[in-house]
C-alpha cells in the first residue's frame, strides 16, 4: 500500500512545473468548488424546505377554506332542516324554497331531501325528484352514523359537472331517521377560490375523495383527469400516513420527483377522512432556484479556475518558468564547459533570484577554481621544468629509481656518463640497463629499507680504458608514499687527483720550509768537511812548495808521507769524505729548491727547443751513461711543426724534463723484455691557454700505490744511493709552484707511464 502511494507521490512530484501549477490551482479551486456545491445543495435543501413550507401553508389555507365550506354547508343544511317546509315535511314547499336558494347561490348545484329509503322527496332541481340515492356514499354514511356526512367524487346527475355532496339526517318525531337533507356543491367553484389564493409557482393542487379519486385538479391538465384514481404510490403514502397531514417526496405519474404536502380532512376525528387536499410541486421546480444558483456558482468557479490557471500559467511563466529556463540554459552552458555562463538578476521570483545569485556565485567559484587549477597546473609545469632544468644542469649524474628498481628519471649527465640512451633506460630495470648500478643494488635496497642515505666513495668505473672514481649517494625517497631512491653519481677522479696534489703541495711546502731552516746549519759543517778534506789533499800535494818545506823540516819527504797514506788507504778515505760531502751538499741544495722562489728570468721560449736541450743533456749525462745508455732508447718527438711558445724559466723546465727523461730511462732499463723496443715519446701540444708536454715510456709502469706517492720528497723506488727521491718532487715544485702549471703521472703496471705537464702560456705567477 505504501509503495504505490510513494510511487504516486513520486509521479506527482515528478511532473513539470506547469503541470504542478495546474494541479495546485485545481487543488486550491477544489475547496471553493466543494463550498459552492455544498452551498448549492444547502440552497436546494433550503429551497426544498421553503417549498415544503409554502406548500403546507397552501394546504393549510385550503384545509381552512375546505373546513369553512364544509362547516357552512353543514350549517346551511342544519338551518334548512329546522326550516318550516322541511320540518313539516311539506315537500313541494321545500322544493320551492330550495329552488329559490339555488338561484341565490350559484356555487350550489342542488338542494334535496330524501325519505328514509333514499328516494328524493323534494329537490331544488325538479329533474332530481324521485331519484333513488340510497347507493350514494353520503346517504349510506348518514344512515350508518346518523350524523352529517360528505360524499365522494361524483358528476352531477343533471349538470354532468363534478360535485361534492354534504348530507345531514332528518329525524322523525320519535327521533328515528326520517330522511336525509343533502346539498351538492359545484367543485369548479374551487378554481375561483384557488385562483384567488397565493400559491407557489408550479404548485399543483389536487383534492382527493375518500377513495383517492381526483375531485379537483388545479391547474387543469389532461394528465390529471378528474374522477380518476390518483397516482397509486403517492396515494398509498397519503392514505397510509399515521397522521392527517404531512410532507414527502414522491413520484408523480410523469415519473418526475415531486414534493407532496397533504392534509386529510375529517368531519369528526373518529370518522374516516372524507377529503384529502394535496399540493405538489416538482422538486425540479422547487430546486430550480437553488440549482440555478449552484450552476451559476459552479460556472463562476470554473471560470475563476480557468482564469486562475491562465494567470498561474502566465505568472508561473513570468515568475518561475522563464527564470528556470534561463537558469537551465546557463547551467547547460556551464556543464558544457562555458565557464563564463552567468544569468542576469531579473529571473522572476525571489527564490529564483537567490538561485540565480547562487548560480552566479557557483559559476564564479568554478571559474576561479578552474583558473586556480590552470594556474596551479601552469605553476606545476613550471616547477617541473625548473626541477628538470635543475636536474639536467647539475654536474652530477642523477638517476631516480622506484622501489622495484626501475628507472624513473635519468638526467643528461647520467646518460652521458654511462653512455646510455634515455628512451632505453627510463622504465627499465636499472640493474640491467645501467650495468654500473648492478653491483650497487644491495646498497640501494639498504637505503630504502633503512630509510637513510648511503654513500659509497671512490667506486671505480672503467671508461674508455681509464678508471674513473665515482662517489655515489643513495637517497631514499619516502615522502608522500612515493618509494624510491635517487642516486647521485659524481666523477671524483679529478677531485681526488686535486686532493692528492694539494696534499703533495703541502708536503712539499713543509719540506721546503724545513730545508730552508736546515740548509745553513748543514751547509756550514758540510763546508768545513769538504774544505778541510780538500785542503788535506792539497797539503799532501808534492807540487806545492810549502809542503816540501814543511816535510823537510819534519825530516820526511812529501812523497814518503803520500806513500804511507796511500798504503794505509788514508787518501782513499779522504776522497770518500769529499765524495760523501758532495752528495750531501747535493741533497741540501735540492731541498732548497722547495723553498726557493724562482729567480730565473722568465722569457718566451719554444717548448720544442727546451725539450730538445733536455734530450741532448740526457744523452750526454754522465750518470746515465754509467748504467742506462740513452743511445739504446728510441726517442720519438711528437712536436708540432710551428714553434710552441710558452713564458717560463727555461732552465727550470729543462731541468724538469731532464728529470723525467732520466726516470724514463731508469724505468726502461729494468725491462728485460727483448721483444719490446724501449721507447720514450716526448709530446708537445699547443692549447689556447696552455702548452702540454708529455713524456711517455713503454716501461713496466707502476702500481697505484707507487703512482700516488711519486711526487713525494725522498720517495724513491731505486736502491739506496742511486736516487735521492727528490727529482720528481723538485719537478713538481718547479711546475706547480713556480709556473702555476700542473704535472700528473698516469700509469698502471705493465702499461708504461705518462707524465703530463701543463704550463700556462702566459706568465701568471
Amino acid at each position: 500500500m505504501k509503495v504505490p502511494l510513494r510511487a504516486l507521490w513520486a509521479r506527482l512530484t515528478g511532473l513539470s512545473i506547469t503541470s504542478m501549477l495546474v494541479g495546485i490551482v485545481l487543488l486550491a479551486a477544489l475547496p471553493a468548488m466543494t463550498a459552492i456545491i455544498w452551498t448549492g445543495f444547502d440552497a436546494r435543501s433550503r429551497a426544498e424546505a421553503e417549498a415544503a413550507y409554502q406548500l403546507s401553508i397552501v394546504s393549510h389555507s385550503l384545509a381552512v377554506a375546505q373546513r369553512t365550506i364544509t362547516g357552512q354547508a353543514i350549517n346551511l343544511l342544519h338551518s334548512l332542516a329546522a326550516a318550516d317546509p322541511v320540518r313539516s315535511r311539506d315537500m313541494p314547499a321545500a322544493s320551492v324554497l330550495f329552488a329559490s336558494i339555488l338561484r341565490e347561490r350559484s356555487e350550489l348545484s342542488n338542494l334535496f331531501v330524501t325519505d328514509a329509503s333514499g328516494r328524493v322527496m323534494a329537490s331544488g332541481l325538479p329533474s332530481f325528484m324521485g331519484v333513488d340515492l340510497s347507493d350514494r356514499k353520503y346517504f349510506r354514511d348518514v344512515v350508518e352514523a346518523n350524523a352529517a356526512s360528505v360524499g365522494d367524487f361524483i358528476l352531477g346527475r343533471t349538470t354532468g359537472k363534478p360535485v361534492m355532496v354534504f348530507a345531514v339526517p332528518l329525524h322523525g318525531a320519535d327521533g328515528s331517521l326520517a330522511g336525509v337533507l343533502g346539498l351538492s356543491y359545484f367543485l369548479d367553484g374551487y378554481e375561483n377560490l384557488l385562483e384567488g389564493l397565493e400559491m407557489p409557482r408550479h404548485a399543483r393542487v389536487t383534492l382527493l375523495d375518500h377513495s383517492g379519486r381526483r375531485m379537483v385538479a388545479y391547474p387543469a391538465s389532461p394528465g390529471y383527469p378528474l374522477g380518476q384514481p390518483a397516482y397509486p404510490p403517492a396515494w398509498a403514502r397519503m392514505r397510509d400516513s399515521a397522521v392527517d397531514e404531512g410532507v414527502f417526496v414522491g413520484p408523480r405519474p410523469t415519473g418526475e420527483a415531486a414534493l407532496f404536502s397533504f392534509i386529510r380532512l375529517r368531519l369528526t376525528p373518529d370518522r374516516p377522512p372524507y377529503l384529502t387536499i394535496v399540493i405538489t410541486s416538482a422538486l425540479s421546480e422547487a430546486y430550480a432556484n437553488a440549482n440555478a444558483l449552484l450552476y451559476r456558482g459552479l460556472a463562476l468557479a470554473g471560470l475563476a479556475t480557468v482564469l486562475a490557471l491562465a494567470i498561474a500559467r502566465l505568472a508561473g511563466q513570468a515568475a518561475i518558468g522563464r527564470g528556470l529556463a534561463t537558469l537551465g540554459a546557463a547551467a547547460a552552458r556551464l556543464a558544457g564547459g562555458d565557464l563564463a555562463a552567468r544569468v542576469e538578476s531579473s529571473l522572476g521570483a525571489l527564490e529564483l533570484q537567490q538561485l540565480g545569485r547562487n548560480f552566479n556565485a557557483m559559476a564564479d567559484t568554478i571559474e576561479t577554481r578552474e583558473r586556480q587549477l590552470a594556474e596551479a597546473a601552469k605553476a606545476l609545469g613550471k616547477v617541473r621544468n625548473q626541477l628538470n632544468n635543475i636536474l639536467e644542469s647539475m654536474p652530477s649524474a642523477i638517476i631516480g629509481l622506484d622501489a622495484a628498481g626501475r628507472v624513473t628519471h635519468i638526467n643528461a649527465q647520467a646518460v652521458a656518463l654511462f653512455g646510455l640512451t634515455r628512451e632505453n633506460v627510463v622504465g627499465s630495470d636499472a640493474a640491467r640497463s645501467v650495468p654500473f648500478l648492478a653491483e650497487h643494488m644491495p646498497t640501494m635496497e639498504a637505503a630504502l629499507r633503512e630509510r637513510r642515505s648511503m654513500v659509497l666513495e671512490g667506486m671505480p668505473l672503467r671508461q674508455d680504458g681509464d678508471t674513473h672514481l665515482m662517489n655515489m649517494l643513495f637517497y631514499p625517497l619516502v615522502a608522500n608514499g612515493v618509494e624510491g631512491v635517487v642516486i647521485r653519481v659524481d666523477d671524483v677522479t679529478e677531485r681526488e687527483r686535486l686532493r692528492e696534489l694539494m696534499i703533495q703541495t703541502e708536503k712539499m711546502m713543509s719540506v721546503g720550509g724545513l730545508a730552508a731552516g736546515m740548509a745553513h746549519e748543514i751547509n756550514n759543517p758540510l763546508g768545513s768537511i769538504l774544505q778541510a778534506a780538500q785542503v788535506v789533499e792539497m797539503q799532501l800535494d808534492p807540487a806545492v812548495p810549502a809542503n816540501q818545506a814543511a816535510a823537510a823540516q819534519a825530516g820526511v819527504t812529501v812523497e814518503a808521507v803520500r806513500a804511507y797514506l796511500e798504503a794505509r788507504k788514508v787518501l782513499k778515505f779522504i776522497a770518500g769524505i769529499r765524495e760523501a760531502g758532495v752528495r750531501a751538499a747535493g741533497i741540501v741544495s735540492s731541498m732548497l729548491e722547495f723553498s726557493r722562489q724562482s729567480d730565473s728570468r722568465r722569457a718566451p721560449v719554444d717548448a720544442r727547443i727546451m725539450a730538445n736541450k733536455s734530450l741532448a743533456l740526457a744523452e750526454s749525462d754522465y750518470d746515465l751513461k754509467k748504467k742506462y745508455d740513452f743511445r739504446h732508447i728510441t726517442v720519438i718527438r711528437n712536436y708540432p711543426d710551428s714553434p710552441v711558445e710558452v713564458v717560463c724559466a727555461a732552465t727550470e723546465i729543462e731541468q724538469v724534463l731532464l728529470n723525467l727523461l732520466k726516470n724514463a730511462a731508469h724505468a726502461l732499463a729494468v725491462v728485460a723484455d727483448p721483444t719490446r723496443k724501449p721507447t720514450i715519446t716526448v709530446g708537445i701540444r699547443a692549447q689556447p691557454e696552455a702548452v702540454v708536454i708529455t713524456v711517455a715510456d713503454n716501461g713496466p709502469g707502476m702500481d697505484e700505490a707507487v703512482r700516488a706517492r711519486i711526487f713525494e720528497p725522498f720517495y724513491t723506488t731505486k736502491p739506496p744511493g742511486e736516487g735521492t727521491g727528490l727529482g720528481l718532487s723538485v719537478s713538481y715544485f718547479i711546475i706547480v709552484n713556480n709556473h702555476g702549471g700542473t704535472i700528473r703521472m698516469d700509469s698502471a703496471l705493465g702499461q708504461g707511464a705518462v707524465c703530463t705537464i701543463t704550463l700556462p702560456r702566459r706568465e701568471n705567477a
Partner: protein, 127 residues
C-alpha cells in the same frame, strides 16, 4: 805571478772553514788575512793593504752585507766575494753598487774551492 801577490781578507766566524779556505787561497798564490767578525775585519782593513774580501753573510754582530756596505763606503776600491751557507741571498742595491755580482756569489759548501779561487783572481784582475 810576477806582480806582487794579491792580498785578500777572509771574513768567517767558523774557524775550520776560515782557516781551510785561507790555507787553500795561500796555496793558490794569495796573501791571506783572516777576520772572525765584521767589526774585526773593519779594524784590520784600516791597517792592511787588502784588495778583496771573501765575506760570509751570517756573522755575529754586524752581518756580512752590512759589512760590505760599510767597507765599500770606506774603501771604494775594495772588491768583495760572497761565500755563504745561506740560500737565497738578496743582493740589495747597495751591495750591487759595491760591485758584487751573482758571479761572485758562492754558496757553501763548495765542492771544489778552486772555482772560488779562480773567481777571486778574475775579480782582482778585472778593471
Amino acid at each position: 805571478m810576477s806582480a806582487a801577490p794579491p792580498v785578500v781578507l777572509v771574513l768567517d766566524d767558523e774557524e775550520l772553514l776560515r782557516e781551510s779556505l785561507a790555507l787553500f787561497l795561500e796555496n793558490f798564490g794569495f796573501i791571506v788575512f783572516q777576520a772572525t767578525s765584521a767589526e774585526n775585519a773593519l779594524a784590520l782593513l784600516s791597517g792592511l793593504p787588502c784588495q778583496a774580501v771573501v765575506v760570509d753573510i751570517r756573522l755575529p754582530g754586524m752581518s756580512g752585507l752590512q759589512f760590505i756596505e760599510k767597507a765599500h763606503s770606506l774603501w771604494p776600491q775594495l772588491k768583495f766575494l760572497i761565500y755563504t751557507g745561506s740560500p737565497g741571498v738578496f743582493l740589495s742595491p747597495e751591495v750591487l753598487a759595491a760591485g758584487v755580482t751573482p758571479d761572485n756569489l758562492f754558496t757553501k759548501p763548495a765542492t771544489d774551492l778552486s772555482h772560488l779561487a779562480r773567481a777571486l783572481r778574475r775579480l782582482l784582475t778585472a778593471p
